[in-house]
């Protein structure tokens, strides 16, 4: 029988459930106040742009192909956007400001109709040199982008150097310019 051992007091073990509960509570609080980062950053930074050749998404800009990124020598921005994306409208003035400073920006329009892209560019400005039409999100998936807008810094050799997730705010412009300079 287990009674053979001498009877002891409850000991420390009696606190174990309370301790477990406190630990669980702490876990919940940490999860509530410091929620996990839900942004999925591309694992493709430092790698060359995958091969693609997109038709134009706009009548007054050419389409976009990987080869064009390799001929330049100057780092460029690759902006993943869509006319149906609200933060893209918010970001438009910042892209315009960057373009005005001589930054070359190429666009990839995700799941967009030509007439919608035209309307979007007419209303919010057109900072793009080229705009590719990505109806099946193929380029988006190929570069590890998980939403719109996202902006990639691509160096002169066509290597992805930096990814900015979400709209570019006023305060992000210096960072973007620095990343472009680093990619020289």
């Amino acid at each position: 029988m287990s009674d053979a051992t001498p009877k002891k007091g409850p000991g420390l073990a009696v606190w174990l459930p309370l301790g477990l509960f406190a630990g669980f509570l702490a876990l919940v609080i940490v999860g509530l106040y410091w929620p996990a980062d839900r942004e999925v950053s591309s694992a493709f930074i430092g790698k060359p742009l995958p091969a693609f050749d997109l038709p134009p998404a706009s009548d007054d800009r050419p389409g976009l192909a990987t080869a064009q990124f390799k001929e330049g020598g100057k780092p460029r921005l690759l902006n993943v956007f869509a006319s149906w994306c609200v933060p893209c409208k918010v970001e438009a003035p910042q892209l315009a400001a960057l373009a005005q400073q001589g930054v070359e920006i190429d666009g990839v329009a995700i799941r967009d109709r030509k007439e919608d892209v035209a309307g979007f560019l007419a209303q919010y400005g057109n900072p793009f040199k080229r705009i590719g039409k990505d109806d099946l999100s193929q380029v988006q998936l190929a570069i590890g982008s998980s939403g719109v807008p996202e902006t990639f810094v691509v160096d002169g050799k066509g290597i992805i150097r930096y990814q900015h997730i979400g709209d570019i705010r006023q305060e992000d412009i210096p960072l973007i310019l620095r990343k472009l300079a680093e990619a020289q």
Partner: protein, 180 residues
């Protein structure tokens, strides 16, 4: 005439009903009606306000106007290939709606990912190669099936460790019972 039972489950009676007890209950309920009506009104106003707010922010949830990708909702003609694709899609995370698999999600991006998976399977690519292609781009997060890697070894070792621990803790019991 309504029974006691019906008084509870049908809407509140506005006129007296036959019987003793049920009638008293109806009376009591009637005094509550104004209070209920007041609360209902507050609830309705809140609901309408919430709906109005939702309508105002609707453009934030804007979606594209394009039809879904060809193989977003269309199965592959070959059942064996479709089975492979389905099994893979159930273990790939939708990046827009992160607690759903792309097989479960109606997000346009999940549709495009399903299209990508199905066309690649149809082209003869192995499911695990497609998973690796996505992991190369999005990291391990995109896969619901954990990969065996140095960082994931506790995941696979933990069950064995717990089994060993349980065996260690229970060994005394077995021995004692044998002795008894």
């Amino acid at each position: 005439m309504g029974s006691t039972h019906s008084l509870r489950y049908t809407h509140l009676p506005r006129h007296s009903r036959g019987g003793g007890n049920p009638e008293r209950r109806a009376l009591r309920l009637r005094t509550w009606i104004p209070a209920f009506a007041g609360m209902t009104k507050v609830c309705l106003v809140t609901l309408v306000a919430a709906l109005a707010a939702l309508t105002l922010t609707a453009p934030l949830a804007a979606q594209d106007m394009l039809p879904p990708a060809p193989y977003a909702y269309k199965q592959l003609a070959d059942p064996a290939q479709e089975r492979k694709a389905q099994a893979l899609m159930e273990t790939l995370r939708c990046l827009k709606c992160q607690s759903q698999s792309i097989a479960d999600s109606d997000a346009p991006m999940a549709g495009d990912m399903r299209h990508q998976v199905r066309t690649r399977i149809a082209a003869g690519e192995e499911p695990e190669a497609i998973r690796q292609w996505l992991i190369e781009r999005y990291g391990d997060y995109v896969s619901y099936t954990p990969q065996v890697k140095p960082i994931t070894w506790p995941l696979f070792a933990a069950p064995l460790l717990f089994l060993a621990l349980a065996a260690f803790l229970l060994r005394g019991r077995f021995r004692r019972r044998k002795g008894a």
